[in-house]
């Protein structure tokens, strides 16, 4: 995505906190600040979405539930594209589900990247998770 610079002023304490959080996330304040602005714009336009810091990076979730948008998209596909059936299956209000699908449609590359993380080869789990075993059923 092409980017453009902007200049803004924030309180001294906020700048210090931004720097501290950036260090914790292993990034720099400018990049994190740009992410926050981008997410702020997106959640204003898509109020049913919230962003969470996860071990796989920042990820779009449906607001108020433990459900990442990519997983919701996948659930709808599992239901043959029937969003109403998917909403019933996971007991999510239909309009909330459809609002998340609108977000997914608006940012397909972001959701595809999250989805890739969710489809990492299960063989990798042996290297990532202590005390891991497979059970073929």
């Amino acid at each position: 995505m092409a980017t453009q610079p902007i200049s803004l002023r924030i309180p001294r304490e906020v700048k210090a906190q931004l720097e501290k959080i950036a260090r914790r996330f292993g990034t720099n304040p400018a990049t994190l600040g740009a992410d926050y602005v981008t997410e702020g714009v997106r959640t204003t336009l898509h109020p049913s979405i919230e962003f969470r810091q996860t071990p796989a990076g920042r990820m779009a979730y449906v607001r108020g539930v433990r459900l990442p948008v990519w997983l919701l998209v996948e659930t709808v596909e599992d239901c043959g594209g029937n969003a109403d059936k998917a909403a019933k299956l996971i007991r999510l209000p239909q309009l909330l589900l459809k609002a998340a699908l609108v977000y997914a449609k608006a940012f397909p590359e972001e959701i595809a990247a999250d989805r890739d993380a969710g489809h990492r080869p299960i063989e990798e789990l042996d290297a990532l998770v202590p005390n891991h075993s497979f059970l073929r059923v």
């Binding site: 071990p55 996948e74 993380a117 998770v129 891991h132 059970l135 059923v137």
Partner: protein, 112 residues
Amino acid sequence: MPADLVEALVHLRSEIEVEHVATWQEGAYLNATDDMLLEACWEDKRTLVSKDRATLPGSIALRVAAGKDHGGVLLYDLERFKSHQIGALAKAIVAAVDFGGDKLINRWITLH
């Protein structure tokens, strides 16, 4: 996990105490982050069932690195179990419980 899975599990094996996150502790963890939910499950000696392999492996790794135990994770392969395959998933979870017995704490079993 699909809400109907709870009913299917109870039907198959009534002695398994299973709750959906939407109702467990009156839904207090419905919007919880992985680390909050893992901590709550550990306190309750409860095993987490999930299909989210995007974030959970990292969350468990961080928890272990912090020297903390966990209540166990049963992860089901989302390519093997589609969202509507409730019956097959319930049977697989019962098989995992039989496989793990009462030693699911600090274990991660991937069902595929």
